[in-house]
Amino acid sequence: MEKSEQIKLIKERSGTDAKKCMKCGKCSGRCPAYADMDIKPHQFVSYIEKGEIDKLLNSKSLFTCLTCFACVERCPRGVAPAAIIEAVRQEVIRMQGENRVKAEEIPEIVDDKIPQQLLVSMFRKYNK
């Protein structure tokens, strides 16, 4: 796939218009997971718009973003940074061999209190 095609797909998948961003940084000012991110929410918006997708595909932030939607809620321009992160994350986990969690590993990390909901959401977030 052409790179430009890939960027277009990711943008479409995000359903948000990164061009509307006015670079105020409020998303990153609000983000509760900021400290655990290498690429910050506002940078996702900027990179996707500039087409610098490779950096994003390798970002650790894809899996530390909590999808808490605080950035989306507060953006003054109606941009959804979390949706861009999600769109890139989908791009990654849909690739061959990119599943982040294997079912057979589960017993080790599960304690008896863990709710199903957590497991399901984790699988949805990390695997295709």
């Binding site: 479409e12 998948r13 995000s14 359903g15 509760p32 997971a33 655990d36 899996f63 530390t64 909590l66 999808t67 808490c68 939607f69 605080a70 989306v72 809620e73 979390a82 949706a83 999600e86 769109a87 989908q90 982040r100 969690v101 990390i109 304690d111 209190k113 863990i114 709710p115 199903q116 909901q117 957590l118 497991l119 399901v120 959401s121 984790m122 949805r124 977030k125 990390y126």
Partner: protein
């Protein structure tokens, strides 16, 4: 009007309290409800990506089933509520999603988002009324200082959930008042607990939970209430038991005098 009661997977296993006390309280309040027929898992997390259709179908099935009943789908778990409400909105306003979902499911009658998705707390506020609830309380939890924990899923995105003011909510505080306890407002009540990263990045979840608990503690809370099993897990397990956390339905049942 009969509410279609949607328990969701976790309420049948790890979050039984949320379910059992929820039902008992509804009975005590005289709300007409019945567990929705043939319910399926909601999907646990709303698929944000626009090209995901299949992952939303189980939610659509539940919504369509509720439409066949009285069209009022009652949710308890914040995550289920978030998923169902947002998928419902997609079925209302996203032509692509509606077309694909209806084509795929081939229901007898097309589903176009007709069902109302109502959270248990919304039911208490809008259908029962906190004033009415207050009258029905037999064992008020007088003197208990309780912090409301909203988290993310009930509040955001507000454009779809329209649950309460996303930065300064009051519904759970009003609920706490109605059952006779004292609400404690603290800054981090609408911050994330750590959510699903709990499994792979336990340290982050611990940090997030501690942040919430410390904020509540500083404000003078003795206990937190939540509507979400995932939050419950993070706040108790990753919060290392620093603060007692209960489901709101448990306190409700207690106040209504139907907790055992």
């Amino acid at each position: 009007m009969k509410f279609s009661y949607y328990p969701g997977c976790t309420l049948k296993t790890k979050a039984k309290e949320l379910d059992i006390y929820g039902r008992k309280s509804l009975e005590a309040l005289g709300v007409d409800f019945e567990e929705i027929k043939e319910w399926q898992c909601c999907g646990a997390v709303y698929p944000v990506a626009k090209d995901e259709v299949a992952t939303k179908l189980s939610a659509v099935r539940t919504l369509a089933q509720a439409k066949e009943e009285d069209g009022k789908l009652l949710t308890l778990c914040s995550a289920c509520h978030n998923v169902l409400k947002r998928v419902n909105e997609d079925m209302k306003s996203d032509d692509n999603m509606r077309l694909k979902a209806n084509n795929y499911l081939a229901l007898e009658e097309a589903y176009n988002g007709e069902t109302d998705v109502i959270h248990y707390l919304e039911l208490l506020r809008d259908y029962v009324g906190f004033d009415k609830l207050k009258e029905k309380v037999v064992k008020p939890l007088t003197g208990k200082k309780i912090g409301a924990y909203y988290g993310c899923l009930l509040l955001r995105p507000n454009s779809v959930l329209a649950f309460d003011n996303p930065e300064n909510p009051s519904i759970i505080e009003n609920f706490i008042k109605a059952i006779g306890a004292t609400p404690v407002v603290y800054a981090m009540r609408n911050e994330c607990c750590g959510a699903y990263v709990s499994v792979t990045h336990k340290e982050i979840a611990e940090k997030k939970s501690a942040n919430v608990i410390n904020s509540a503690k500083d404000a003078g809370a003795e206990m937190l209430v939540t509507a979400c099993p995932l939050c419950m897990y993070n706040l108790t397990e990753n919060g290392k038991g620093a603060m007692e956390v209960k489901y709101f339905t448990e306190l409700l049942a207690e106040a209504l005098g139907v907790k055992e």
